[in-house]
Amino acid sequence: MGAGHLHPLSVPGPSPLHALRPHTKVVATLLFVFAVVSTPREAFWAYGAHAGILAALAGLGHVQARILAPRLVLEAPFLTFALLLPFLARGERVEVLGLLHLSSDGLWAAWNILAKGTLGLTASLLLVATTPTVDLLRGLERLRVPPVFTSIASFMLRYVEVIAAELRRMQVARVSRGHDPRWIWQARAIASTVGAVFVRTFERGERVHLAMVSRGYTGSMPPTGARPAAAAEWAAVLLVPLSAAVVSVAAWSTIG
């Protein structure tokens, strides 16, 4: 163990974005996504403006495009769906490149998903790149997310490495005794390993609970939430979604 990293998605700071309180960043990201979603799909320039805001933030947070771009692959399943829409949707059809007859509504819908999805995901990726996961949880706690959710997420973060390391050790032990599964019916040993890890994890849960009770746990986790942010910090952070909202409103007025 010890090789793992608790913040695999975060990019080391410092930067002005890293220094912000996590809960302010969570709220700003959420509002920014709302502003993007509410932008009319016909106003192409508005999406350029939103992308410009994100690019400026990425520069401020020292998050390079080569770090963000591979992570956007998360969007792939949604994009596949979006790419099918021009072929599958009904209604008026337009000729594209002189070869394809695609649905006009489908093209608009695909563009809508592509633009809003990419901008929303990029905003989220910027948030996690400039906020260690632990701080994100503290931010959520500060925003009054029920402690049971933040506790479960926190335990998951803490033990995922421990359990992964246990699985790796068991795999090495299996392979060391000549296990070389090539066919589905040889998967029994793998299933047994997963079963054994499940039982051990369950037992570990009991031991952890014992350790918690021994240190005064009576059913609720003590607060570890982020410290409050000053009004000036809130104002600075909220400038981002406010700019996006202004863009959205302007976009509606230009197409209206």
């Binding site: 163990m1 632990v134 803490r158 033990y159 490495e161 350790a211 240190r215 003590p222």
Partner: protein, 246 residues
């Protein structure tokens, strides 16, 4: 009774399955004393330890820590007084960062804000781990994790420190560093271990617990010199280790 003393009287306990684990334990530990609890696997050592802070109970007999009876009404104070460091630090360190983990106990006692921060800093300084406050536990070495686990209970200002197999999985250097930290603590110490040389190094008194009863109690050196006694209770010194020469 004064701070840090332990009195166990006729403690007997059977698990709900019916298996009797303790058959009537009597023990007096003076404040500041360091006592090694030796015994083979399945002797009842862990069951005994879990009675000291009231995690297990409901059997016969009674336990007093610093004059306070271990019973439901006193559990909060008892768990402050008795700090248990479990064998596997991965079970003890369950929060995302070292600092949050050390803060868990005192926060449960009601400490908040600046006072909690200071408490965490002091506990980490006592085990030489101030630099690890923001680190996730799984990034620490085995020795560091053990010392942080110790800090998590020191932060609660305990009177009686109970260590379950403190030297297991430690390399010689981490073992020595932990011993140095433990020697520097002015606390009553109860150390459950199979590591007999470590028991001799740190504890002036030892007792052997086997099949739910204390079968020997005396100076650690005398107990470790008694080959027949050790053999009868499945305890062994490392080959070539001579307790009279330490």
């Amino acid at each position: 009774m004064s701070r840090g003393s332990l009195r166990v009287q006729s403690l007997a306990y059977a698990y709900p399955s019916g298996r009797q684990a303790l058959y009537g334990i009597n023990l007096d530990v003076e404040p500041g004393e360091r006592v090694a609890v030796l015994g083979p696997n399945g002797a009842g050592k862990t069951t005994f330890v879990l009675h000291l802070n009231g995690v297990l109970g409901g059997g016969l007999g009674q336990v007093e820590v610093g004059g306070l009876l271990v019973e439901r009404a006193n559990l909060r104070e008892v768990r402050r007084r008795v700090g248990i460091v479990f064998e596997n630090p991965d079970d003890q360190l369950f929060m995302s960062t070292v600092g949050d983990d050390v803060a868990f106990g005192p926060a449960n006692l009601g400490l908040r804000g600046q006072a909690l921060d200071v408490c965490v800093d002091i506990a980490l300084a006592r085990v030489g781990m101030t630099h690890g406050r923001e680190r996730p536990p799984h990034q620490l070495s085995a020795g560091e994790r053990r010392r942080v686990a110790l800090a998590t209970v020191l932060a609660m200002d305990p009177e009686l420190l109970v260590l379950d197999e403190p030297s297991s999985h430690l390399d010689p250097r981490a073992r020595r560093e932990l011993a140095e930290v433990l020697r520097g603590l002015d606390l009553t110490l109860l150390m459950v271990t199979h590591d007999l040389p470590y028991a001799l190094e740190l504890c002036e008194r030892a007792l052997i617990l086997d099949e739910g009863v204390i079968v020997a109690d005396g100076p650690t050196r005398d107990i470790l010199r008694d080959d027949d006694l050790l053999h009868a209770h499945r305890l062994e010194l490392p080959t070539g280790f001579d307790p009279t020469r330490v």
